[in-house]
Structures are given as C-alpha cells and as structure tokens.
C-alpha cells in the first residue's frame, strides 16, 4: 500500500506542472471568453445604434439580449480539450517511462514488491486528473456565471433565464448524479482499455504488438456490440434490470482489462 501511494505521488508529481498549466490556461480562456462576449455584445448594440440611429430598445430587439448560456461556447471547447488531454495523458503516463532519456521504466520494474502497484498508481493518477477536470470545470462554470452577472449591464441581460449553460454542457452536468457516476464509469473503462493496449504493444512490440492491439480492439468492439444487441433484443428483462446489467457489463470489461494488464506487466514485460 505504501509503495502504491508513493508511486501515485511520484506519477502526479511528474505531471503536476503540465496539469497546472493546462488548468490555468483553461480557466483563463473560459473566464476571459465570458467577459469578451459580454463586451462584444455591448459593442454590437452600440454599433447598431450608431449605424441605424436606433434607440437602445430597438437595437436590443434586433440583436437580442444576452444570457449566460450564450457565452458558454468556449466552455464546451475546453471540456472537449479536457477529454482529449485525459486520453493523451493515459498514453503518455506509460510511454514517457520508456521513451524518456532516463528509461524510468527500468527503475520501476526493478522495484522490490509486486508490480500491481505500478499499474494501479498510474490508473489512480489518470483517474484523479479526470475527476479534478470534471470538478474544476464545474467550478469555472459557476465562477463564469458570477463574472457574467458582474460584467453585463442589467438592460442587456435576458430576464427569463431558462438555461443555465449551453445545452451540451447541460447534457454533461445534469441534475441527476447517476449520470455523472455513469460518465466517470465509462471514462474509467476507456482508460483501462488504453492501458491494456499500451501494455500489449509494449509486451510484443512492432508488428506482433500492433496485431495484438488490433485483436484486443476487435474484442472490445465485439463485446460492446454483443452487450448492446443483447440488451436491445431481450424481452425478459425490464428497463431497470437492463440498466443494472449494462453497468455490470462495464464492470466485467474493466475487471478483464485490469486482469490482462496485470498479467502482461507481471509475465510479459521485462527489464
């Protein structure tokens, strides 16, 4: 356990600077975009008034008032970038140990004790990055709404605020916590799949490694297809039972991917 915590600490430490930079850049772009879009809207109104010799109400009628949902488009892009970052990080956390000048992987593999802690420390690091992105993005969204209220003039703001965020963000941050648990579960399963593919490639290398990766990807796609087809076609199970079984299928794949990865790490990957 101690070794696992130490290794996790080490993994996070090695990525910490990059993580902080990404989070700060994300926050800066998102928050600045809110103020910028408020200012741009104001400017458009003023330009319309000057060019058409119109009153403020006429300009607002023509251009429309602004609500916070209208200014959150950059949050959507940043959420997508966050997802891409987590996927890249899931690859990078393994490959940096092999591809770096110091060949850090040799030190890891030579460590006394079980190799399980290497795998789970990396999985924990990626998991924590993912969770913190989801949580921080929410905090930035809420901070953005306060910033929006502060920066916009009352008469430019839509009075009936029906949408908190843009629709795609509302699909992500729903008011049903089951949805968030589902997102985290599926994301963790994909990270487990990426880990398995990396370890397969590292175990066999070159053409054989790529063939193994292709086979494993086919297994995953087939498994997903068979599970969804079964759930769609079966009449024996009711909707709530299908939900439970779907989650069960996700867990089964995660356990399989972890089991195979640990076996590869123990038996196939050597110094």
């Amino acid at each position: 356990m101690k070794q696992y915590i130490q290794l996790t600490n080490e993994e996070i430490k090695r990525s910490f600077k990059l993580y902080v930079i990404v989070v700060l850049v994300m926050a800066a772009i998102e928050l600045v975009s809110v103020v910028a879009q408020v200012m741009l809207h104001e400017q458009n109104i003023k330009n319309f008034m000057e060019n058409n010799r119109a009153t403020l109400s006429e300009a607002l009628q023509q251009i429309g008032k602004l609500d916070y949902a209208d200014t959150t488009s950059f949050f959507v892009f940043m959420t997508l970038i966050g997802i891409v970052f987590v996927v890249i990080y899931a690859f990078q956390i393994w490959y940096r140990d092999w591809l770096g000048e110091t060949k850090y992987i040799y030190r890891l593999l030579m460590l006394p004790g079980r190799r399980y802690s290497i795998f789970f420390s990396k999985l924990t690091a990626v998991f924590l990055v993912m969770i913190s992105f989801i949580g921080l993005q929410w905090c930035f969204l809420k901070a953005g709404s306060y910033l929006f209220d502060w920066s916009i003039q009352a008469e430019y703001q839509k009075s009936s605020n029906t949408n908190i965020f843009s629709s795609s963000l509302e699909e992500f941050y729903t008011t049903n916590l089951t949805n968030m648990i589902f997102i985290i579960l599926i994301s963790t399963m994909i990270v487990c799949l990426i880990f398995l593919l990396v370890l397969l490639e590292r175990s066999h290398r070159k053409v054989k490694g790529l063939i193994r990766v292709a086979i494993e990807t086919t297994i995953f796609v087939s498994y997903a297809f068979v599970c969804i087809y079964f759930l769609d076609q079966t009449h024996l199970l009711l909707s709530s039972e299908k939900d439970a079984l779907f989650i069960g299928f996700v867990f089964v794949y995660m356990i399989y991917a972890c089991w195979r990865s640990l076996r590869l790490l123990k038996w196939k990957i050597s110094v």
């Binding site: 916590l177 089951t178 939900d243 989650i247």
Partner: protein
Amino acid sequence: MRSYKYFIGFILISVVSLAFYVGYVLNLEKPELVVETKSGSPKQSTLQNLQINLIDVVRQPTDFSVSIKDGQVSESKSSYLNNMYLDRVYINDKAPRSFKQFMQEETYTLMQDSVTYGLKGREDGSWELQYWDLKTKKLTTKQLSTPSEVNNKKYAYSPFQRTEDLLYVERNSMDEQTQRSFIYVIDLKNNSVRKQQLPIKLKKNEYIESFYKGQLLFSQTYFPKNNPDTEQQRLLMTDGKKTKRLKQLEGEDFNTRILNEGKLIVTINENDETQLSWNTFDMESEKYTVHQVPLPDRKKFPDGGGFPVSILENGRIYFSYQLKNDDYRVLVFNPTSANIEYEGNITNKNPKIKLSLSDMRLK
C-alpha cells in the same frame, strides 16, 4: 506525510471541486405543488388514477407527478441509461412482470378505458392476447386460433377498439397500406376469432376510426382542388348502403377521438388559446352536439409553446393547460353534456422553480 503531498493535494482538489457540483445538485430547490379543488370532488371514481406530469424547465431530467386524488407529488429523474431502452408503450408500474415482458415483444397495443391490450402473432398463425385492467388489477391471457388466411409474417394485426366483449383487429400490411374489406373480431367470452366484412372496401387513403353495430366511421385524406399542396381529411360514415359525410365534425385543427366503446365520436380542438371546442357524434342515435368552453385565463405563449394536454378515457375528456399566473388547470368534462365534473388548479408555491406541462396519465 510531506512525501505524499502531491497525492493528498490532488485528492483534495478532486474531492473538493466535485463536492461543489454534488452539493449544488443535492441542495437544489424543489417546487411546492398544491392541488386546489375549485369544483367537484377529487375522490370521484374518474379521478382515482389521474396524474399530471410537470417537468422542470431548467433542470431537464426532473419530472414531478401530481396525483389529483390526494395531491401527492412524486419526483423522478431520467438518466442516460433510461434513454437507452425507451419503453414501447407506457405500462403502469404495478402491472405484472409477465405482462411487461410480453409488451416488450413485437406486440400491437390498444389502451381503452384503463385496459391495456397487447396482441402478438405467432409463427404458426395463432395469436396471443394479453390484457391488463388497471382498475381491477387483473391480467387475462388468451391463446387464439385464427382463420387459415392469417399470416403473421406478412401482416401486422393491431387491435383498435373494444365494444362489449368483442375486440376488433385491423390487418395492416408491413410495407404499404393496401385496400381492406374486412377486419377480425376476437370474442373475448368465447375465445374465438372470426372474419368480419366491412360495409365497404377501404382504399389506401381511408382509415378506420370506429366500427359500431355494423356502421363504419372512417377518415379519408384528400388534396382539395383549390389547395393541392395541403392534405385534408374528411369523416364519413357508412352502413354499406349509404355513405354520409359528417361535416359537422371536421375542422382544420380538430383531432378525432373515440369514446364509449366506439359509440361516441369526439373531434376536439385544443389549439385555440381562447377556448376549448369539441363536437360529438353518437353512432347509434346519429345525434350531434357542439361545445365551446371559454378559457379566458389560459396563458398565451408567443413562441407557440406551452401546449395543453388531454386524454379521452372512461367516457370523459380530461384537459389540462397552463394559466396566466403559471398555475395549471385540470378540467374533467362529460363530452355530451359539457358538464364540468371536476375543476382544480395545481399551484407551485415556489416561484423560483419554473415548470412546464409534460403530460397527463391515468396511472
């Protein structure tokens, strides 16, 4: 401890930031929905199972069901998983498991007067019929042998009306609607199926609305000569000898609904924001009635939203709409006399929560 500072720091960032989100969701304000009866008794038999569903406009997955009988409010949230397997038909939660399983199969369904019917064709040409009565909570299952020409692979057989102990079944082609001259009749007492000739041969553009004591009421779509781009519909009744057009029931915004086991035809217009209007036609006495109920306090939506909801069941019209003060009105009419048997309002005492009318069900 210092050697774990990145690990602990990261757990703190993750937990604290996610806790903001979880805390927000758990501390969301809820509407305070109260049912206020204006006239009639909410205890009457026609209101025993009536539920009005309101959806939270801002927080989309939350649905509030208000029972008119006792004012109880239940909350339900849909998740991504719920959306993956949409139920083909709505079935009450208390229905037996075997019936729910049956209805998930390739069944053709009919809901009439709180009874849900499901008909499934088997490969050997026989039919399996199951129906569940919401009022008596009774499930009935029947295996029915059918006339020799029945072909469950080629045609879909769907029940469309029950009159007394007879369940009428229409044959539809899987690919294209063809000409039809007969229907099938399931005798629920004797567990038999027979072929019943229709008074006339229906063409492709003609659809059965009701079949009552040898009289066929059907709708016919057509393109008028003065407006060839807009499809319109006329309603016709025939006994085979003479065909009569029921012009009094027709109208651009009128929907045709059938009540009292096919005896009463109701065409209803819900789209007029100032009034609810409907016409009725009794197939037996051939008597028309025309009704208009003014709705002066109905909220007008400039974007065309805020649709009212209605159901015609148990010989009644159940109608619900949003009021100008954002309350919701529930009305229950007798369609022939236009007597209001129940009138009530659902008030949301928490104005911070914006709700909109979703649907109405007899649960």
